[in-house]
């Protein structure tokens, strides 16, 4: 049977046995995943910026009221994170695919988005963890210096607090590296395969 005969046969068939006939199925699927990732990244960034604003407000107020420069340094760290996310989103908006774009444009935009997230999360220490850490270390160092002659109990409480802060930062770092290996790298491989298949054989 020739392909033209197959085509005639295909079009006369009702295809109730499973294989979907929507010619835009792949494009719709790629776009749905692209939009879904874009929406969750937007929610994440929005929450981070709101959290950064709250951190800035709290530490600025505390720093001015107590006249403590280390708390103001913490506020500065929070402001850096918030501003970094806003500037990053602003820069990335030009890579977005228009809603009526082709499969190739959509795949390229999705790949750019995923690659950028991999870069962002792999470097999370430098833009997300380090800036607030500088203020925190200064704050805790100042307290430790003040408490150097305090009772063992007070020093232990301070030690536990430092340990908890360290564990939280380490946990945030690990969680993000896990997201890179479990979510973003498989998605990048999938997109690269699709793009390779589309652009050349």
């Amino acid at each position: 049977m020739s392909f033209d005969e197959l085509q005639g046969e295909w079009q006369s068939h009702d295809h109730a046995d499973g294989l979907q006939r929507d010619p835009n199925l792949l494009l719709d699927e790629v776009r749905r995943k692209y939009d879904s990732l874009g929406a969750s990244l937007f929610r994440r960034d929005l929450m981070e910026v709101i959290a950064a604003c709250l951190v800035v407000a709290f530490f600025s107020y505390s720093g001015f009221v107590r006249n403590d420069w280390t708390l103001l340094l913490c506020a500065l760290g929070g402001a850096f994170v918030g501003c970094f996310l806003i500037v990053d989103r602003w820069n990335q908006r030009r890579h977005r695919a228009p809603s009526e774009s082709s499969l190739q444009v959509c795949l390229q935009a999705d790949l750019a988005q995923v690659n950028h997230q991999i870069w962002l999360l792999k470097n999370i220490f430098w833009w997300y963890l380090l800036p607030p850490s500088i203020g925190m270390i200064a704050f805790l160092g100042k307290i430790a210096w003040k408490e150097r002659h305090a009772s063992l109990l007070r020093q232990s409480i301070l030690g536990v607090f430092v340990l908890v802060c360290g564990l939280v930062f380490w946990g945030v770092y690990k969680l993000n590296q896990r997201a890179v290996t479990k979510t973003f790298i498989p998605r990048r491989d999938e997109l690269e395969t699709l793009l390779k298949n589309l652009e050349r054989d």
Binding site: W10, N24, S102, L103, Q104
Partner: protein
């Protein structure tokens, strides 16, 4: 036929379905974002691949 299409890479399967549905090269080019000439080249390869698969299956069946 369904099984043979399912075994194709996703992009090729999508092109095969569009072709079987009777979409023009222009329409496929708009959806895929590649040139009409390249659509023709790809469809030719897909057609050959599907024909080989179907031929092999019918030989095994006999």
């Amino acid at each position: 036929m369904y099984a043979a299409i399912r075994r194709l890479p996703q992009v090729d399967a999508s092109l095969a379905l569009m072709h079987l549905d009777g979409l023009s090269y222009r329409e496929m080019s708009d959806v895929m974002g590649i040139s009409e000439n390249y659509i023709g080249v790809k469809l030719n390869r897909i057609r050959n691949k599907l024909a080989d698969e179907l031929q092999r299956e019918s030989d095994e069946f006999r």
